[in-house]
């Protein structure tokens, strides 16, 4: 079998001004993930690496660059799965963690569970020595703040559907 590494960087009504950043980001993620795939022959290591690259890139709605809640906070979620034995790790309602995907992998490999969320997931992260960024809010970008401002203006104007933004990454109602 010839190894393959395939990535996506999100779907929606992405403004044309963001195309180049998306192109550069997905190519970078594919290259880095593929390098790990060849080096380790581990699909699991490769997909984690590819996602980690995009979690550090503000062109994407994950990790640094995540969109904001109504309370102007970042809440992230992630999942990872192996096809050989269906083991999986899932996390939700994470705050101030640089790589949610790596915490999802820790859930898969170090707990008897599939899915941790909220306070329990954050406690697990601390116990595993995962860095909790301090002060809080370091994953918030200017683009995400502008997108939320635009959303709130539209909401006040009567359009209450989440996700609406012409400067953010996502289309109306799209995550």
């Amino acid at each position: 079998m010839e190894p393959i590494l395939l990535v996506h960087g999100g779907a929606g009504d992405i403004p044309d001004s963001r195309d180049q950043g998306k192109h550069d980001g997905v190519r970078n993620a594919a290259k880095n993930g593929y390098h790990i795939l060849l080096q380790t022959n581990s699909a699991l290591d490769a997909v984690e690496e590819a996602v980690k690259v995009m979690e550090l890139d503000e062109n994407f709605n994950a990790g640094y660059g995540s969109v904001l809640t109504l309370s102007e906070t970042v809440e992230m979620e992630a999942s990872i799965m192996r096809g050989d034995n269906l083991t999986s790790g899932c996390v939700t309602l994470l705050k101030d963690i640089r790589h949610p995907i790596s915490l999802a992998r820790m859930v898969m490999e170090k707990t008897p569970h599939n899915f941790l969320g909220g306070d329990g997931a954050m406690d697990f992260a601390r116990k595993e020595g995962v860095e909790i960024l301090a002060p809080p809010g370091q994953l918030v970008t200017e683009t995400a703040q502008k997108a939320l401002q635009t959303f709130k203006k539209r909401q006040n104007a009567g359009d209450s559907q989440p996700g609406v933004t012409e400067i953010g990454q996502e289309a109306p109602g799209v995550g």
Binding site: M1, E2, P3, I4, L5, L6, H8, G10, A11, G12, D19, K22, H23, V26, R27, A29, K31, G33, Y34, L37, N41, S42, A46, V47, A50, V51, M54, N61, A62, G63, S66, V67, T69, L70, S71, M76, E77, A78, S79, M81, G83, D84, C90, V91, I101, A104, N114, F115, G117, A147, L148, K152, Q155, P162, G163, V164, T165, G173, V174, G175
Partner: protein, 141 residues
């Protein structure tokens, strides 16, 4: 949302998906990304899928597993399964989405019902990428 699907030399498949959700979501809202079968699914017998788009629609349709089921039970390849499933999800729910798939034979599926979805893959010394419908730009590595 970002996602990755890989198949190694031994045919082992893995999938990862990560997201910040949607702008202006309620605190405590959970989307499709961390839900198995919705945002992520992998089964070496059939393939692996990562999805992105309108989470509430993806959850209702269990999109990732629906794509895998089409490969498993209809015997179709990754592209047809991905395209048919995303189209049907949009028809049924009204929401838009995208998905990337690699089936057990190493075939690739990429489809989105939204206006755009950025994607890229490397196989050998070539990277292909795009963002609009019909895009497929090739670069030698």
């Amino acid at each position: 949302t970002v996602g990755a699907v890989a198949i190694d030399r031994d045919g082992k498949i893995a999938v990862a998906t990560s997201t910040g959700g949607i702008t202006g979501k309620y605190v405590g809202r959970i989307g499709d990304t961390p839900l198995l079968g919705c945002g992520t699914y992998a089964d070496d017998r059939f393939g692996g899928v990562s999805t992105t788009g309108h989470g509430e629609s993806i959850m209702k349709f269990v999109l990732a597993k629906d794509i895998i089921n089409r490969i498993a039970f209809q015997g179709v390849g990754a592209q047809k399964a991905t395209e048919d499933s995303v189209k049907e999800m949009t028809k049924v729910t009204g929401g838009t989405a995208g998905a990337i798939t690699i089936d057990k034979d190493g075939n690739i599926g990429i489809y989105f019902s939204s206006q755009k979805m950025s994607w890229a893959y490397q196989k050998g010394n070539e990277i292909k990428y795009g963002i609009r419908e019909g895009d497929c730009i090739t670069e030698k590595v």
